[in-house]
Symmetry: C2
Subunit: 323 residues, 2 copies
Amino acid sequence: MKGDGENGSVATEIRGAQGNVSETKENAAQTWLRAAKFKEVLGSDSSHKSLFILVAHESGEQGVLLLNKSPFSENVEDIAALIESAELSEIMKNDIFGSYDVIIPSKLNLVKSTLIYPANEKVIAKYRQEEKYIIHETAEDYNTITVEYIKKYQMDLKWLHNVLSKESEAERIIFEDPDPHNGFILSPDIKWDGTSMENLYVLAMIHRNGVRSIRDLTADDLPLLENVRSKSLSAIKEKYGVRPDQIRAYFHYQPCFYHLHIHFVSLKYDAPASTTLAAVLLDDVINNLKIASDYYKRATLTFARKRSDKLLEMFREAGRCEP
Amino acid sequence: MKGDGENGSVATEIRGAQGNVSETKENAAQTWLRAAKFKEVLGSDSSHKSLFILVAHESGEQGVLLLNKSPFSENVEDIAALIESAELSEIMKNDIFGSYDVIIPSKLNLVKSTLIYPANEKVIAKYRQEEKYIIHETAEDYNTITVEYIKKYQMDLKWLHNVLSKESEAERIIFEDPDPHNGFILSPDIKWDGTSMENLYVLAMIHRNGVRSIRDLTADDLPLLENVRSKSLSAIKEKYGVRPDQIRAYFHYQPCFYHLHIHFVSLKYDAPASTTLAAVLLDDVINNLKIASDYYKRATLTFARKRSDKLLEMFREAGRCEP
């Protein structure tokens, strides 16, 4: 069971990394950091073991340090070294079970970091963790608020049309059904390295224009959805050897861009935005449209948005969310 | 932003822990571990940075070592110490952005562990990670397979009836609506420490008997669901000061026990089994029953089960899942 592309032994990786860098550059960042003072915790995630902090020099120059504990190496030598050198401090012992704080050698316990300096306010704002708020979007809210939001803030989809017309990224296509009404292109997601099956992440983008999100779907679109589901799962099985019952297929709602697309992700991968308040299973959408053809014209859809989000702001202005 | 109950400085915690343990016991576990050899990776989670391994002595005595990287301390002194002592090895530098492997002092980078020894095969099996498989449960599958599974393997609910009758855990109740048809008891979940608001996790258990899961719900139960939703969110606001739009309320499907209960969890907490293949939002259930009163009598529900799971076995025996 591998993850995050961890393959070689840690010791090798460290030597490799150090061999390739200039001493000067390496010291520059470290020197800059050591002369900085801690200012603020911008964000943290105790489940994933990450910490984002703001630091600053006396001159006022600021930097953002993103720290993320690395996964354990699963290399046999590294595990053997860990067992031999672990220092245990007992917290509790009961029958065969004991809890310990363990100190392991630093080289087996690296932290991956990004240091951004000098950092301006826009960069700092990007990494400042924001509280999220739940929105209940009725069908009426969608028509009066969300449609306006999409018109106003929708990102430019030129990149997507270039992909669909194969003017760009044609070499990345895993599978294509060229049918203009029910066809689609299947490609690896940019977040995926393309090799680690634990993190398999591919994206199906439909050829048809004008379907912005699941809100636009009715039972008339079942042939489209069932076509994407069956052909994508077959293509993934054929290319990567991963069974259909090991793949989770879902939409985001709200999506990141408003041209219908479907995420196909390994069941083993705890992907960002795959929880109930962000993702809707393709199987559930198909089921819902079979139960009521106009399901998405009537449904109240529940999702979460960050504090500074424009859509949340528009819901608040309309009096549909508490300020 | 705190998590996992991390409050004091790490340095203090280590001193505290070491001060309270007998040298002998502490050494016993370490001595046992150092004499052991690595046998097998039982499981790993690269997102949460954990590793479960099987180790064994030459005598054949086996042990299970569960390793879990600790979250970063957010104590100001610990962060200052980290900044001062971090050793950076450059991986990549581009404009203001640089990536580094960082070595930080061991005492700021503890691993929490559990060592179980001697471990028998049953204990080992419990920690061996198993692949999951997706099941599509039609209404017919529910009636012919799942109902049989519930009859055969449902856990004894005496503990639950003791809670509902207040014979046990009465002191833990946050709120009760005693109505036998639409009432419920709200209590902290056993996984929650009761103090860290980041991880807030409370459970509503309905008083009415015979509602096993969302499958048993129809539009007739909307008053029950809306009652639990509004009164639980109010009670959480009053007792913990957390706003309703900061709480995610959901069912598990399949649930862990078959007496209807609802999870109320902080939006900030990445709770286990809160993804689309395990959790169903209370808001979505209410919405679905409004769209079709018999929604859960007709729906195909999609969820994932582990390889050795009895329900998966029964679906496979019935020819409803690939072997």
